[in-house]
Amino acid sequence: MIHPIPPGTRDVLPDEMRELRKLQGALMEVFEGRGYGEVATPAIEYDEVMARADGPSRSSYRFFDESGELLALRSDMTVPIARLVASRFASGSPPFRFSYLASGFRAVRPQSGQMREFLQAGVELIGASADEGTVEVIEVLEAALDAAGLGRAVIGLGDADLYRQLLEELGVEGEARDSVLASLATHDLVGLEQKLVEAGIGTEQAQTCVRLTQLRGGSEVLEEAHGLGGGAVERATARLSQTYEELQGRGIADRVQIDLGLLRDLGYYSGAILEVYDPAVGRVLGGGGRYDGLMKQFGLDFSAAGFALYLDRVHTAQLEEARRG
């Protein structure tokens, strides 16, 4: 007799579990080896804690406990770790390095292959200076991808503040701004140009903005962006080129793609943002970035950065890469 389980959840049987354990072991060894001690936090938090992060990281699953408290299933590990640092390490001396292997929970759309419960492995670096922190996190991410055997994986590096500042500079505010950012987040270029023009920006400037979102590649894209002008673009490219030069200095820039069109949909990022791709898989393997603003929500004036990899997708990529031979 079949007893169904909810869509977006699944069982893992021994053959798969052996491979997953091996992958998890390889990743956690990299994290521990670089000083990122593993932590665990409860899967259930007070909703008030998860709600400190705006946007989609707001928990999808909320419920009342027996005394009427509103609880939430965590939607990722970044918010719980920010909470943990604020409660237990506020008087310690930074930087703090933590790693985790944990499930998150998010609402799914039916039949899309999205998981309601998903396993993530990642790190958080809290209290290191902004630029050094980003570079260190990218270095750990590269080591993790190598340990997983994904030699062809690429890391996209973008800037979360670019479009917020650019829109401010162009005087796009309120609803028009939100609707432009929505087009950017879904990468709907046709809608983006239309909405910029509706917001009162000239066609030419709107097209420049669209061109900006298409700049991705090596350091040459920073020069191209430079030509497209504007103070916001200038500041973002300066931040990106500083990070990129640092990565080059450490000899780890080869698999990093600078991407001025990158916009993570989680609300809490500021500054550098990351996304991970493998040529054998059509979906993003993971991502991360800086989230100084989230730490402020917990009363800490720390800069912070981290990344999370979706274990299942990394596992799929391993299999696809192996099939390729």
């Binding site: 759309r109 270029l189 298409q214 991705r216 590649g217 791709y277 898989v281 059509g282």
Partner: protein, 215 residues
């Protein structure tokens, strides 16, 4: 996926002819697709062309089974939760999504006044639901798969939401347009990962298609 030839999802049906013309103009040889071959996959100009129903294009492109594709904005709106990058408005296949009902009849208005809601038959439940919610009206949507014009003629619904190119089908079925919801055209879309990892190839094809559209 980012290995091998670039895979393009090509929509069969109403957009097929103009899609091939546009690809030709962009330097992709489509002569094999124009024959009466029953194959679904063709190799041409160093690319792989995969033919399919327009409504399947977002599915293939989202998963990475196709790197890029062409489909109607109606399909993209109806499947708005599929993550594909919309790169270009190709300008052809121009149609209007409309609310229509029987010519000369006030059935829609009457349903609204006396029953508080309209029954609307459509192949586009999501676009229709969004539209009526946005305009603050309660409706009961009836999803049908085939000729939606039939529905109001036999009493399945007070009106329809459907795609109209020339309006001839509506006329022949004694229906007329009441409201225009949105104008749609063919769009060029890309897989999120392919857009990053095959940047040069996709940018090149986008530029060629843009030039072909501007002609």
């Amino acid at each position: 996926m980012a290995d091998g030839p670039l895979k393009i999802a090509v929509p069969r049906g109403a957009l097929f002819g103009e899609t091939l013309d546009r690809l030709d103009a962009a330097g992709v040889d489509t002569s094999e697709l124009r024959g009466d071959s029953r194959s679904l996959i063709f190799e041409a100009s160093g690319m792989t062309l995969v033919t399919m129903r327009p409504s399947d294009v977002p599915t293939y492109v989202e998963s990475g089974a196709a790197d890029v594709g062409i489909t109607g904005k109606d399909v993209l709106l109806e499947q708005a939760d599929r993550v594909v990058f919309e790169l270009l408005d190709l300008g052809f296949g121009r149609c209007r999504m409309v609310l229509a009902s029987q010519t000369g009849s006030d059935r829609l208005g009457e349903a609204q006044r006396r029953l508080g809601k309209m029954r609307i038959a459509t192949k586009y439940p999501r676009i229709a639901a969004d539209y009526f919610e946005r305009t603050g009206r309660q409706v009961e949507l009836v999803e049908v798969k085939g000729s939606v014009e039939l529905a109001p003629l036999v009493g399945l619904g007070d009106g329809i939401v459907d795609l109209v190119a020339t309006g001839r089908t509506l006329e022949e079925n004694d229906l007329e347009i009441r409201e225009e919801i949105v104008e749609v055209t063919a769009r060029f879309v890309a897989n999120r990962v392919a857009h990053k990892l095959r940047a040069a190839e996709i940018d090149d094809l986008t530029a060629k298609l843009r030039r072909a559209s501007d002609r």
